[in-house]
Subunit: 298 residues, 2 copies
């Protein structure tokens, strides 16, 4: 019982978060206070990541003003504002429910953060992508006689995707599955006119370097999709496409890799024109004739 927090301890307002409180009084703020308000509102992570002094400094305002600001906002002091912000942000975390009463956990909030991060990855990747590298990649994918697709560990999934899509668009695409001896055959086989399409995101095995190096030595084109940290690998490839892969928590995000691969293959299909369409059509017919797809819809 007892809605704690309505006591004199805290603010009379029951406004939930700092942002609301600020916005509710934004018009009545003085110049310095507004500077502070602006700084605070501009923090996507909320104020709990900052000390009052830091905020003051960011707003080019004295610590005194900052201290007063939070009191005027209705908090007992900065500390209580900070923990309030933290609690607020925390609502909706799966851990919450886990810790508090293991009943139905409600994971709403964090998913949003996760998606926002992936959105940012995509956007940044798009911004930094070099058009001429993309062009070169498409040309390579279209003009090479044979294409070998390779990727290890996490990158294997992307390689599998690239293979699946590319293979519907053109012939002579091979996915080198890790762990078998195809790799050796490749080394014996690859040459001018071929291309090695490598996916080499963070934590990729050294063998990828070796494959790229050999392919290059044999005059095959080498195309690498990787992240910015893979600079060691990049030097072994003719064309590099660099993706943003930052994840919110433990794992890197590969959405931008997937997206680029899709784009490359789509564009290649466009470039190949009728031959690609004919192939797509044939594949479709094959599936229909074997009747193995279940797309009857709703």
């Amino acid at each position: 019982m007892s809605r704690r927090g309505t006591s004199k301890q805290e603010s009379p307002r029951n406004a939930s978060d700092i942002e609301s409180r600020i916005l509710a009084t934004y018009g009545k703020l003085s110049r310095s206070e507004r500077q502070l308000a602006d700084v605070i509102l501009a923090q996507p992570g909320g104020i709990s990541e900052f000390s009052a002094s830091e905020l003051a400094e960011l707003a080019k305002v004295s610590k005194a003003t900052a201290a007063r600001f939070f009191q005027r906002l209705g908090y007992l002091n900065y500390r209580s504002a900070r923990v309030a912000a933290r609690e607020y942000r925390r609502r909706g975390s799966p851990l919450d429910t886990l810790n508090e009463l293991s009943a139905p956990l409600e994971a709403r909030g964090n998913f949003g953060i996760h998606l926002a991060n992936d959105l940012a990855n995509l956007t940044r990747t798009g911004e930094s992508a070099a058009p001429e590298q993309i062009d070169a990649a498409v040309r390579t994918l279209c003009k090479s006689r044979r294409i070998f697709v390779v990727g290890f560990r996490n990158s294997y999934a992307l390689a599998a995707y690239a293979f699946a899509v590319l293979n519907t668009v053109r012939a002579n695409v091979t996915l080198l599955t890790p762990g078998n001896l195809d790799l050796v055959e490749l080394l014996a086989d690859i040459g001018p006119g071929d291309a090695l399409f490598a996916i080499g995101f963070r934590r990729c095995p050294v063998i990828l370097h070796q494959l790229l190096a050999v392919a290059q030595k044999r005059k095959a084109k080498t195309l690498l999709i990787c992240d910015a940290e893979a600079s060691a690998t990049m030097q072994w490839s003719d064309i590099q496409l660099i993706c943003d892969i930052r994840g919110t928590y433990l794992f890197d995000s590969y959405v931008s890799g997937i997206s680029i691969i899709n784009f490359l293959c789509s564009t290649s299909a466009l470039e190949l024109g009728p031959s690609a369409w004919r192939r797509l059509e044939e594949i479709e017919e094959l599936h229909e004739s074997t009747n193995d797809l279940s797309d009857t819809g709703a």
Copy 2:
């Protein structure tokens, strides 16, 4: 030359974030340190929201230990760890990108359009995602004794991804590779306490239905990631996560699928807690001892 960061200032490691640093040494930590590590890893928002004292209290450990912990992790002091965490989290903030570019995407020609489409897919998927389905999915991934991951055609790549990530987090995960006889073995083997994690995007073969149906009949949990058009398949699964997959040109876009899978696995790791972290560390160590990764960076 010039491995910045080797100076006395900071750590010799170039590990980017605190979580990585912790995982890299998790096994070598003492009891108290591990308590701290657990508390820290359990914070989805990172440490920057907390003071070292607060962390110490949460971990039931003295402030002294906390202070030492961050130094041992390679930071100059707690403050620098906190700032690092904040910076790390900040990179890639959606605000960053939203504020800074927003316009130029469309100036990027077809690639920009393509990316914009993927962005929209992600956003829509996020908006329509049902939190209780996500919760249920995470619970299933954590609590099931064994998990079988399956996907055909394009969905195979996503299944491979799901397998790769899930497998770093928990044991008893199996990827059913299409085309071999594992499928039959599965049918004989699966039962209550197991889960079938199926990726069934458009144009999936009927065998997926069959697998799901059998799993369900045998009281295994069935979890399906699919698109809105797969309603025929959905009826065979206990939990459905529906992604937007509209592509700009020939191919569907799987970015939202990748994103959801990443989220599910991350959240599962959080929920599994120490057991997941220990596993991550073991895997990391195995790779290090076999020396097969090439992460030396620049």
